[in-house]
Amino acid sequence: MVSSKKTEKIAFFLLFLATLLIVVPVGLIVVIIIKKGIGAISWQFLSDIPRQGMRAGGILPAIVGTIYLVLGALIFALPIGLLAAIYLSEYAKDNYLTRIIKLAIVNLAGVPSVVYGLFGLAIFVVFFKFGTSILSGSLTLGIMILPVIITTSREALESVPYSFREASLSLGASKWQTIRHIVLPNAIPGILTGAILGIGRAAGETAPILFTVAAFYLPQMPKSIFDQAMALPYHLYVISTQVPNVDEKIRYGTALVLLFLVLFMNLIAIIIRYQFRKQKKW
């Protein structure tokens, strides 16, 4: 028994080390970016257009472009995703069709992001002739975040106790009335969480917007959804690999803004989830 206790100690220690190997670098990455990037953050950096071939000035057009893209993606994906989630949680029977839908969602989540880029290029830019534009990019990102929204919304809907549905139906409410007045209102925090996670994901993706929206260097604000636009992740890619002699501070600063944006979204999602669990009524 003594030796097996010893084995256990060693094994647990190794498991712990493995976990540290993941978590410590994550902490380091965040700390490095904050430490080196915080110096670049100034009002001018956030509110000015890029100047001198992106070697000076700010990143405002990239921030604005990302916000447009993300909002566009959400406007497209949230209604479809939510209704799809309602279908799966409230209407779908346990049959082959449902199985295929679930498999399709898993696959949609697994399609490489660059393939989304190709798809967006082929269908929105070329086939529908939207051109390289915010519209094309938003639609592409929208399809990409659909699985996130469906999955989280469905979880939220299914967490509403089944008995509420029965109580509502037993009072003579129709199925849709029950969904609309009982199920949906109680699932809103979860649905919101899904939407925010979707936003975070869309904001950070580069490959899907490479050929659908992204402008290499466009020091002005987009005027319509048919314009090209800069976007933060693509901008970071460009200034770190395509433009020589960019001040390191600008790179770190851009990375910091992007990281902050994405983590901030995730933080909000976590807070909503936490608050919701705390005040759950049943």
Partner: protein
Amino acid sequence: MVRTKINIKNLNIWFGDVPALKNLSIKIYVNEILSVIGPSNSGKTTFLRMLNRLNELETNFKMSGQVEFDNQDIMKMNVELLRKKIGMVFALPLPLPLSIFDNIAYGARMHGVKNKKKLQQIVEQALQKAYLWDEVKDRLDVSAFKLSGGQQQRLCIARTLAVEPEVILFDEPCSGLDPISTAKVEEAMLKLKKDYAMVLVTNNVKQAARVGDSTAFFLSGELIEVDKTDKMFTVPSDKRTDDYIRGKFG
């Protein structure tokens, strides 16, 4: 003259391949309480949920035979209308996650009542009929979950009454309640009898005797016997009923 409200003829129900009710024929009368007793898995809840067609929510539900409500086949009726006319109170108090007022008004709203005054009237009447009005009239806008268990159950009765049903189904309504709350719920039921037909499914044989005008005894999906409660509890015609009532099994 007692009037038949619900007439069930040769009803069989299966979930998948498992029979839940076998060849059941029984009548439910106006202004009477029918108590349904029997051990668990005897089909009594399935019977109850057949009457307002909640069984259909199970995907593998199958049935044969007929259930008539006021001489109409319920399977051919509009299901929402049927459920409005045949209300149900569940085993555990099951308030909706809404305020007290909104809980009671919910059914009426779903059936298209929008007028505020009318809704207030409905809510007050329903709460009074369920003997809850005096206890909650000052706090109608608090969450229904703030009420005690017994109050919640009476709230559910009031909510059912608010949609003006003709029949009320009680599915073990006191199983989660203490004796005092149980007494209050039973009192409410007895007083409601003058306006409705009622079915009470219960595991509590004494409750069936206290409340029911007639009592039906179910065993393994079959109706063993149904009779006036007095007769059933003194001279049951089937030995199995006698055994169950005396607590030999179940």
